[in-house]
């Protein structure tokens, strides 16, 4: 599993033939999808994969994350071939930068694949820090003033955040050595969870706060989200999709693993309160900023913060419904958000702009993109019958069952703001008479999407629709199993 992206990266390093490294990336990603699905099938049969040294451990939750990572890296790879090819012909970047893009792309996937497979919490930390380093370079791909600025902010803020997470990891280790005796501490997640009730609650509390601040920075939870809109809006579109579709979830995965320990050690109330704190501030901050955004990519970035907030909230409620909703929402967001970034990338190709003002009538100018985009927007806004409605509804049900009415109130109010913010911008873009495409962009970009890219995007949109009505059996079992792991 880990070897494939590493090998693909090596190919990018060795060859200068554009077609060769493009195909290597796509083929590698396709192979990863296959392996991830077979791992998931194995996990469903009750297998747990462990490496001899105990460094690698794959259970249902890891398999769930692996499937998301593999699928997303595949669709983004397919999209990259067309998008980055267009950027190359348009002269936005040179050949060398184009090749480095694919090299870094594969390294990025490599570090992200490592995250759910790591059993050791320090390895988890290293992998997450690795994603920051690689993706910062990807954010800076264009070397424009803004992208360099965004990359700088991104790497500084996330490194500071993750340094706190390292301290948190040390403190958890200290707690374990307090329970096991001097010098015998452990960092294996499996070992820590089995002895969690014996860990000192005060120490674990401190550790968990540092962890949630640290990985929360990376997961884009407000109030430590400031890097996110910049990085998402300045990165090349496929990378924006990967950042918000899987990177945020990978960081949140780190929080989830620690939360299992914290829940067993200092009780569910503490974890719930922390999650509510970060979740509510995320949805509030995001919904307010979404009202004033004119730049569509930034709008989508703030929407990511909102959705991470929702995931945190439903994770905080806990219980079978809350956890199920949280994981389902991770999946839905990982499909819906990249899809919208892809659509935005196409629009940018045609109009050479990502400001919602001045663009209209996309439904007529690019019918396929218009329809797909419209589905995506409605899904992101949480409208029925799309998949996000299901997970949000499940969360509301869990909240109501727990009696957290104030959280429900805040969520519903911000949900309304988000709906308005999204529709105000995207509605104007999709509907109405087509504004004339600017000649600069249109001359070099094919206005028609290629068949493969179109199929992939159409498939993603269909997934949003279908999952709103029916969740396939194996997926349902996988999520239930994962929720069981978190719920203990």
């Amino acid at each position: 599993m880990m070897i494939i992206p590493a090998a693909a990266a090596l190919i990018c390093l060795l060859t200068r033939q554009r077609r060769v490294y493009e195909y290597a990336t796509v083929a590698g990603a396709a192979a990863m999808v296959f392996i991830a699905l077979s791992i998931a099938a194995g996990v469903l049969r009750g297998l747990v994969i462990k490496s001899p040294g105990g460094m690698i451990y794959v259970d249902a939750l890891s398999a769930f994350m692996l499937v998301i990572i593999a699928l997303l890296s595949f669709v983004a790879a397919v999209y990259s071939v067309e998008y980055m090819g267009n950027e190359l012909t348009a002269g936005h970047l040179d050949k060398k930068a184009h090749r480095y893009y694919y090299l870094l792309y594969n390294l990025f996937i490599f570090t992200m694949v490592l995250i759910p497979m790591a059993n050791n919490l320090a390895i988890l930390w290293m992998a997450i820090e690795g994603t920051t380093l690689v993706s910062a370079l990807l954010v800076g791909t264009y070397r424009r003033r803004e992208s360099v600025e965004a990359a700088w902010k991104y790497i500084i803020l996330c490194t500071v955040g993750i340094t706190f997470a390292l301290l948190g990891t040390f403190i958890v280790y200290y707690a374990s050595s307090g329970a096991l005796g001097e010098g015998k501490g452990v960092l294996e997640w499996t070992a820590l969870t089995s002895m969690a009730s014996r860990l000192n609650p005060a120490t674990i509390k401190l550790g968990f706060i540092l962890i949630i601040v640290g990985y929360g920075t990376k997961a884009g939870l407000a109030p430590v989200h400031n890097w996110l809109p910049d990085a998402h809006s300045e990165a090349p579109t496929p990378i924006s999709a990967l950042l918000s579709g899987i990177l945020l979830n990978c960081a949140f995965y780190g929080v989830m693993r620690f939360a299992v320990i914290a829940r067993a050690s200092c009780g569910p109330a503490f974890v719930r309160d922390m999650m509510f704190l970060f979740g509510i501030s995320s949805v509030v901050v995001a919904s307010v900023f979404m009202l004033i955004q004119g730049n569509v990519k930034r709008l989508l970035a703030y929407s990511s913060i909102e959705h991470m907030g929702i995931i945190a909230l439903s994770f905080g409620v806990g219980g079978p419904f809350g956890l199920y909703a949280s994981l389902l929402h991770i999946l839905n967001h990982a499909i819906g958000k990249p899809l919208m970034f892809f659509v935005t990338g196409r629009i940018k190709g045609l109009y050479n702009s990502v400001e919602s003002e001045g663009i209209s009538g996309i439904l007529k100018a690019m019918p396929l993109m218009g329809v797909i985009g419209f589905i995506g927007v409605m899904a992101l806004a949480g409208a029925p019958p799309f998949s996000m409605f299901v997970s949000e509804f499940l969360m509301l049900r869990a909240l109501a069952a727990g009696g957290y009415w104030y959280v429900m109130g805040v969520f519903l109010a911000t949900g309304g703001l988000v709906f308005y913010g999204l529709l105000k911008n995207f509605g104007g873009m999709f509907l109405g008479a087509p504004s004339m495409p600017l000649p600069v962009g249109a001359a070099v970009y094919k206005s028609k999407t290629s068949f493969i890219t179109g199929t992939v995007m159409f498939g993603m949109a269909m997934a949003l629709v279908v999952m709103g009505i029916y969740i396939p059996g194996p997926l349902d079992r996988l999520i239930t199993l994962s929720a069981g792991i978190i719920g203990g």
């Binding site: 050791n120 320090a122 390895i123 930390w125 290293m126 820090e129 690795g130 920051t132 380093l133 910062a136 370079l137 800076g140 070397r143 424009r144 003033r145 803004e146 360099v148 600025e149 965004a150 990359a151 700088w152 902010k153 790497i155 500084i156 490194t159 500071v160 340094t163 390292l166 301290l167 040390f170 403190i171 280790y173 200290y174 050595s177 010098g183 501490g185 960092l187 005060a202 120490t203 401190l206 809109p229 910049d230 809006s233 300045e234 900023f289 004033i292 955004q293 930034r298």
Partner: protein, 220 residues
């Protein structure tokens, strides 16, 4: 026990206080190369502390960790940053947002707060009992330096000092983790510095200056 003199003369305290002082001194240093020297001294002290603890505890893996720290933080990173600084032709820090006397006062307040609040809570026995307090102070002061300084290079040095602080804290809490983990973490830090160096050059190219005040186009 013949190794007891390490504790009797409280050598660890001397070293950790030395680390704290280098960070405090960062507040008043204006020349970038002197800042780098302060960081180098800080890292060397960290490596020394690890080596002495290795001697005291008679633990081979701590010698290895000390060697890693010495080579990466004490030698490689300072040399690399020195080269970057020379290439960028920056010599002095511009006047920070908060002037030197005030920032020294704030720094000392931070130390007092850390000492008073950590006297309860986590309690560590043994020869590193003061180390945790010092390391948390170092982390906070470095964060403060990162916030107040205007040159991007100083921000990087602040980040590195903060990482040293976390290493110190981790060390006092765990007496060193397994070697492979130390190696991995150090490797990540090293890569981070190199990438930050790359970005410093890019900032210089696209903004003509490496002042952070210039990085203000992206808002809202």
């Amino acid at each position: 026990m013949p190794r007891q003199w390490v504790v009797v003369y409280s050598i660890t305290d001397f070293i950790t206080i030395g680390m704290l002082l280098t960070v405090v001194a960062m507040n008043s240093i204006k020349r970038i190369e002197t800042c780098l020297r302060a960081y180098t001294l800080n890292s060397l002290l960290l490596a020394l502390l690890m080596a002495i603890s290795a001697f005291y505890l008679d633990a081979a893996h701590l010698y290895v960790a000390a060697a890693f720290t010495l080579v990466s933080k004490g030698i490689a990173i300072p040399l690399f940053l020195k080269k970057v600084v020379r290439d960028l032709k920056i010599t002095r820090e511009v006047e920070p947002n908060i002037n030197t006397p005030l920032s020294l006062v704030i720094t000392s307040v931070l130390v007092v707060v850390v000492y008073s609040s950590l006297s309860k809570g986590i309690f560590i026995e043994g020869f590193t009992e003061n180390t945790l307090k010092v390391s948390v102070s170092i982390i906070l002061i470095s964060l403060f330096i990162m916030i107040t300084r205007r040159k991007a290079v100083t921000q990087v040095i602040g980040l590195l000092l903060m990482e040293n602080g976390v290493f110190l804290a981790g060390f006092s809490l765990t007496y060193g983790m397994s070697t492979i983990i130390e190696l991995g973490v150090v490797f990540d830090v090293l890569m981070g510095v190199i990438i930050l160096g790359v970005f410093l050059t890019q900032i210089k190219k696209s903004f003509a200056k490496v002042d952070l005040d210039k990085l203000n186009t992206l808002k809202g």
